[in-house]
Every structure is written in C-alpha cells, then in structure tokens.
C-alpha cells in the first residue's frame, strides 16, 4: 500500500538481497531525513528482535532512528508464580508437561523446572500439547498438568485440547497473555517517546489487524504488521516512516501473505469458548487490566490452580537487581542492567530475558554484546 518495496518474493538470493536491502535502507534514510528529528520505533516480538540483531539492522540505520524491543517474549512476561506453582504441583505428585522454553526459566530465587526435575520430580518436555494429552491418557491414575503459556499465537492449541473431550486427569496451568493491552500500558505512559509500533506477525495471524486500529485512531500511533526475514522487517520500517512523514497514523500490513484484517476466526472462536479475559500479572511489570486468559467456568474442572491447596502469590518476582521488567517495556537496554554479562549470561541466567530465545537480554548477549558502530 505505502511501500514500493512490496513484491520482493523473487529477490531472495545472494547479492540480490544486499542490493535490495541497500535500496530500502536508502529510502528509509531519505524519509528519516525529511522527518528531521530522532525517531523511536518499537517492535513487540522476540522473533523480530532476533532478526534485527542477527542481521545487524541497527548498524545500517541512522543512529537517531532507534529500534526498541518491547514486550514480545511470552516466557519473559510469564509470572514467577507460574514456575513456583508448577514445582509445587510436581511435589504434590502430579506430572508436569511443558514446552522446552519454560524449562530453564528461573523464579525469583533462581529455582528452575530443570533443577526440580534433576531432584527427581516428574517434569516432562514435549513438542506439542497433543503429547500432553497422550501422557494423560497413558497415566489415568495420575494428574497431568500442562503449562499453558504464550500469547494469542499459542493459546488456541490449548483451547482446542480442552474442547475435544480431554481426559478428566488433564489440567492446564493457564498463563496466556494478550498483546494489545500491553501496548495500552506502553502508550499510557506520557513519556513513552515512541513514534510507532512494528506489530507482531505471528500474533496478528490469529487476532488480525483490527485490534490495533484503536492505537492509530485514538492514540495517533502508527503501526505496521511486519514479517520475519530482514527484508520484511526493513520494508515494515520503511512503511512506518512513511506514515510518520505523512502524519497519518494507520495500521498497515506488510505481511499480507499470512495476516488478514479479521484474523483466524476458528482460532478466535476457540479462544472465546474456552477462556474468559481477566486482569493478569506480567512478570516485572505488574498487573495489566484485561490482559490474560483464564479458563471459563465451563472448563474449570481442568484448572490446575484448583489442585493447589492455596494460591501461590509472590510479592517480588525477579531476582535482586534483575531489571527484566524495564527491559521488556523498552525502558532500558540489557547493557544498562548491572548484571548483564557479569553475573547474568546465557549460561548463568538470573532473569527470564536471558533464558528465552526470544528474550532481549539473551539476544543482546549473543549478537551485540559489544556495540558496533
């Protein structure tokens, strides 16, 4: 719509890419110069941050055109209570089933599921929720707890599992979070200083672009849904600068092959059937209104929290000095945390942002531990 770099599918090989990237970058720089002031763009997706860091996009852009990493890592914002509750449930004799990315996430005391497992608790890593159902069927006299975390992208799979007659011993510890309410929190800070959002491709596949319209119309924030290879991301940047230049905030879709206006109706129906939207805690950030999925009453008999003798609530959910909350909100860069690459490394992570593949601290540690200029 607003970029002449739309159809680039034929241009993905060898030096073509470099020439093409150069063209987009010079278009970006031209627009940036016309705008004539520093510009701050935030993306809200861990995969986007990997693309940006791994392909060195920041090194190609003007210094004052900043790309900031926002709350795009579901593992990072998952409350520490989730880990503590899962370990408690394992201690009570239940089987815990999870994706691998939660396995090494430390709670505020640096206890992880990995450590709990090495101490003999029954915690199993699987590749999909189907495997969790299988384990439940194979162990009819045990209770199986599936760790349900993620954004709108992963929640539908858990919803389907509950809708299709799961065994009675299948439980879900649900801590799914919604992306748009986190953007509300960011914008509500009068000092946010943001000029636009690159919106997450995967999440938008499910929810569509409509839920973002209010940021453009009410908050005057430009937004572009971006894809995941470096060229896709550069095109999204070019489109967002165009909006800023025209001073016409809207939601553009730079990933139309996969993302539609209305999203995936089947997935949305499943989410509505199985969950209700509730206030929810984000790790290091606090409670965000209407930002999480809870099991609807109809499915409460599968709620793993009902297995806990009393609910687990932590006042402090990060290790001392860990600033994951500020990193997730894009307020500081990992390098500004006192622990970064000192006590906290990918091998000795103190916070979730250093553990997850989508965590800003981990990505910074792997690809830009030293700044290139």
């Amino acid at each position: 719509m607003s970029s002449r770099f739309k159809d680039h599918s034929s241009m993905r090989k060898g030096s073509d890419i470099r020439t093409y990237a150069k063209e987009i970058i010079s278009s970006i720089s031209e627009k940036f110069n016309q705008i004539g002031r520093p510009v701050k763009i935030m993306h809200v997706c861990g995969t986007h941050e990997t693309t940006v860091a791994k392909s060195g996009i920041r090194s190609l852009l003007p210094d004052e055109l900043e790309i900031i990493s926002g709350p795009g890592c579901p593992v990072c914002v998952c409350p520490a209570e989730h880990v503590t509750s899962a370990i408690q449930l394992a201690k009570d004799g239940h089987i815990i089933v999870t994706f691998g990315d939660m396995f090494k996430v430390p709670d505020q005391k640096l206890v992880t599921l990995a450590r709990a497992k090495s101490e003999g608790l029954d915690i199993r890593i699987v590749y999909s929720v189907t495997d969790a159902l299988k384990i439940a069927r194979e162990n009819p006299d045990r209770k199986i707890v599936w760790l349900g975390i993620g954004f709108e992208t992963t929640a539908p799979m858990t919803a389907y599992s509950l809708m299709n007659n799961p065994p009675a011993n299948y439980y879900v510890l649900a801590d799914f979070r919604l992306v748009p309410p986190a953007l509300d929190v960011l914008i509500s800070d009068p000092n946010h200083g943001l000029d636009g959002f690159i919106l997450p491709g995967h999440v938008s596949t499910i929810i569509g672009t409509d839920p973002y319209e209010r940021f453009a119309s009410e908050d005057k924030m430009p937004g572009v849904v971006g894809g995941f290879d470096p060229i896709d991301f550069l095109i999204a940047m070019d489109m967002i600068l165009q909006q800023i230049l025209e001073n016409k905030p809207r939601v553009d879709n730079a990933y139309p092959q996969v993302v539609s206006k209305k999203g995936n109706q089947m997935a949305l129906d499943a989410l509505e059937e199985v969950f209700t939207i509730a206030d929810a805690k984000w790790r290091g950030i606090g409670t965000i209104p209407q930002s999480g999925y809870e099991l609807a009453d109809k499915y409460k008999q599968h709620d793993a929290r009902s297995l806990l003798k009393e609910p687990i609530v932590l006042d402090n959910d990060l290790f001392k000095g860990c600033q994951c909350g500020s990193v997730i909100l894009g307020k500081i860069k990992p390098q500004e945390c006192g622990h970064f690459l000192k006590r906290c490394t990918p091998e000795t992570a103190l916070g979730p942002c250093m553990v997850s593949d989508e965590g800003t601290c981990r990505i910074a540690a792997l690809y830009q531990s030293k700044v290139i200029r």
Partner: protein, 346 residues
C-alpha cells in the same frame, strides 16, 4: 575370524592376561601394515615404549594430544577412527609440522561389538597409511557398561616443524585476508541429523579429513600468519581465538562463507547458529595479501580444499572482536559460543 566378529568386548580383556593379549592382537591385525618406519628402532616385539631416532635437519619437535568421543560412533562419511587421525594430524599440520608418529589409547565400553571395533581400527590403519604417520604405541582399557558411551580414543601426535617458525594464532596482522578451506558446519549438522529423535532425510557427509599430506606445501608459505583447524565451537570459536590472541578484528562476509543447503536447513530447523557448528576437515587462515593468490592456488590442487576462498579481512580495531557482514550488509558480532550448541526443543 568370522566367529570373532560376533564377539563383544568384555571386562576380562582388561585383566592383563591372555584375553587382553588377544584383544591387542586383534587390534594390531586390523590396523594393518604400517608406513614410515625408517626411524623406528623399537617396538619390534610389543615392548613398553617406542624408541625413535631423529635423523635429518628438522629437529624442532611438535607435540599434541587429543581425546575423541562422538555420538554416533559411525556417521555419514566416517567414524570415530577418522576423527582420531584427522584431529591429531590437523593439529600438527596447522602448526607447520609434518605429522610423524601417533600413539593411540582406546577406552572401550564393555559389550562393544568386535565387528565395530574392527571397522574403527581398520579406518585408523588406513588413514594412518594415507597420511604417512606411524602408530608407535597403543593402549586399551575396558570399562564397565554404562561408565562411558561406546568408545573413547585418545591420541598423541608427534611431528617435525618444516618451517623456521611455527604458525601461530597470535601473528595475524591488520590487512591480512581470511581464507576458509571449504564449507562450514558439515560435520556437526551431519551428526545431528543422525541423532535419535531427529528425522532428517539427508546424507550430508561429515567433512572429517586429515590435512596431511595435502597441505605440505601450503604450510611452508611464510605469508600464512595464522592457521587453525576449525573444530568444536565452529568458525565462531576459531576466529575469535585468532582475533583475541592476535589483538585484531576479523571481518567475515557471510556471503562468501560456503554453507551447504542441507547444513543450513538443519540449523534453521533446530535454531542453531551455523558459525558455531563443528567441522573436522576445515581450516581458517590469515594470510598476507601478497601471498593470498599463491596459497589459494595451492589449496585448489586438493580435493579437501578445492573450494578454498577468501571470506574476509583483518582490521586493526576493535581488538579481539569478530564481525560478520550479514546477508543484508549489516554488521554484527560473532562471539565465542556459550557451551555446546543445543537444538531448540520447541
């Protein structure tokens, strides 16, 4: 003999008695005849140590040691025997030494099949003959089942320097060109594709290969300032060691680095960084720009380095760093990997 092939290694072969002698005899027979024996005075009769007399002008001795474990023990394009010879020979060659003698220690898990052992030992013998190194001493131990996984080999290598000064990791200079002798990551990705639970349809072979005798004339070139064989930690480790020890910045252009499509695909799926994946038959060199053409021309004469090419250059600063020029022309850091590359689970 056929019946012997059905046998497994048992703990009694550790005892120093007749069963052990039989095991050693089995190994020597499978090793085959040896080359390069002119300096060997002993062992003629399974003595306790080898005795070697140095003749000629080359009297700078280069020594290295290496232990080898691999999962699986037999992989596409080789087995642990290839690794034991290539690893040791390559460590000597990249110093500018002619590999001469090797010792081999084998630690074998109880229950290991004789048929597999014979394949490994035959490979060791064949590779040793091809590279002209002589195996002068050996040792075997058998350990209870479960104490190790299949087999561990340890080798020591002894070579003679064939240039005035050894090639050092610390001698790279600003202005040097970086040469890679072939594609990267073949060995590591080939192994991963074979591991349990991975379902890749690929016959991507490991790149395991000894540098000697192919690099005999290459390493005599004094324009080679640094040279390293790329092993664990892949290009990321090898390049960072050179940058660090030489106090320079290596700039590597991703577009010039050869990565086989299969290796790339496997890395993508498993969420791994190709630069961190191991090789067993590739070297990185920092070469004086005036000698680059000669070195490349020499490398192109041999199968294992027929794709050798310049992939980058050396700058003065920032010292100790390696930069990658990415697909789209951006720059980023290539750091030493943190630990083993672990395939992503979800």
């Amino acid at each position: 003999m056929d019946q012997e092939h059905e046998q497994i290694v048992d703990l009694a072969m550790n005892g120093g008695g007749k069963k052990m002698d039989a095991l050693i005899k089995f190994i020597s027979e499978n090793l085959g005849s040896q080359t390069g024996s002119e300096d060997i005075i002993s062992p003629a009769h399974m003595d306790d140590s080898a005795v070697i007399e140095l003749k000629g002008d080359n009297n700078k001795i280069v020594i290295t040691t290496d232990s080898h474990t691999v999962d699986p023990v037999f992989f596409t394009g080789g087995n642990i025997g290839d690794l034991s010879i290539a690893g040791t020979v390559n460590d000597l060659t990249v110093m500018g030494a002619e590999p001469k003698y090797l010792t081999i220690g084998m630690i074998i898990e109880e229950g290991f099949k004789f048929s597999d052992l014979s394949k490994i030992v035959q490979t060791i013998g064949k590779r040793a003959r091809e590279t002209g190194v002589r195996i002068v001493a050996g040792d075997t131990k058998v350990m209870p089942k479960g104490d190790l996984s299949n087999i561990i080999l340890n080798t020591a290598g002894f070579g003679l320097l064939i240039r005035e000064y050894p090639i050092s990791d610390a001698k790279t200079k600003p202005g040097d060109k970086i040469i890679l002798t072939g594609s990267i990551g073949d060995h590591g990705t080939s192994l991963m594709a074979l591991r349990e639970g991975m379902d890749f349809q690929t016959d991507l072979p490991s790149d395991a290969a000894p540098f000697w005798p192919a690099f005999r004339d290459v390493v005599k070139n004094t324009g080679i300032h640094s040279m390293k064989d790329i092993t664990r930690g892949g290009l990321a480790s090898a390049s960072n060691e050179i940058a660090d020890k030489s106090g320079v910045c290596l700039v590597i252009d991703s577009e010039e680095v050869i990565v086989k499509p299969e290796a790339n695909a496997i890395c993508d799926i498993l969420g791994l960084e190709i630069y961190e994946i191991s090789c067993e038959g590739r070297a990185i060199m920092a070469v004086d720009p005036d000698e680059v053409e000669n070195v490349i021309a020499e490398l192109h004469k041999y199968e294992l380095s027929k794709e050798a090419k310049v992939v980058g250059y050396v700058e003065e600063a920032p010292k100790g760093q390696v930069h990658i020029i990415t697909d789209i022309g951006g720059k980023r850091i290539l750091d030493k990997p943190y630990g083993e590359p672990i395939p992503r689970v979800c």
